[in-house]
């Protein structure tokens, strides 16, 4: 196959095109998903930091998951 690619075999062009389309589409989709995730993580982190101190402490005490989200956001930053 590798040899055929260098010989620009017509069949190999179809093979390469389909593999390229799949990997490029998957890469773009991955980047887009990652960008959306980061955007929401940052927005969430900002919203929490905007809360008054007493309220923020109360929210963090009551919801374990918010703690997890904030920790993961800090790690990714």
């Amino acid at each position: 196959m590798i040899k055929n690619i260098f010989l620009t075999n017509t069949e190999s062009i179809f093979v390469l095109a389909s593999f390229l389309i799949v990997f490029v589409a998957c890469f773009i989709f991955y980047k887009k998903t990652l960008k959306t995730l980061k955007k929401y993580e940052n927005e969430f982190s900002k919203e929490v930091s905007k809360l008054p101190k007493t309220r923020r402490q109360s929210v963090l005490r009551k919801s374990k998951i918010i703690n997890h989200i904030l920790v993961s956001t800090k790690k990714s930053i």
């Binding site: 179809f14 969430f44 989200i69």
Partner: protein
Amino acid sequence: MFHYFSFTSVFKIIEKLINFINSIFFIILTIGLTFALVLSPPDYLQGETVRIMYIHVPSAWIALGCYSAIFFLTILHYIFKIKNFFIISKSIAPIGLLFTCLAIITGSIWGKPTWGTWWAWDARLTSMIILMCFYILYIISIKFIKIDSLKDKISTFLILLGAINIPIIKYSVDWWNTLHQPASINITGTNTIHSSMIVPLALMLLVLLIYCALIFLMKYKTEIIKIKKKNLFNYD
């Protein structure tokens, strides 16, 4: 039983899974591509173009698998009214749409050298286009309908209606005379594909499944954050 599906318990393992998948993905991708493009033999009839099968077939399987998963989750959501099932369905749908489009595009590219045409309105191809339409309608309905009860009803109706198409896709090559070949791999019957081609096919399926898992986890995490952000002012 359903407390295992709670956001808190699920969120804990998402981070670990994403890191794990990121660490192993490129190793498995390299092995899969080596088998698919270098080690597997060309077909006696189709020559090198048979290698398109290694991405076309797993893409089609994933497209059908995603729709089936959404179908079962929608039924569970309808019966038990657990919002998490809806969130999971919502996260799976874009993956299903992506792989339906990829199955159609790679199938079209494969069709040109083998059938002599990019496209034919035969049963398998047309039913895949219908599947794509149902994915698009489902995604539009959950994205643009703001009233929750109406959104639930319409999305459930669409998924149930589209589920009729799943057996049609599967058996279209047996029920009608089509350009598309019949299934080469049967779980219950005998396979008509050589073992030297099953290994790269299985490896490429694994690569794409791992990719799907990664995207699903990221989308699911985003959905959880969206919900928590909305409920941030309700912790009283």
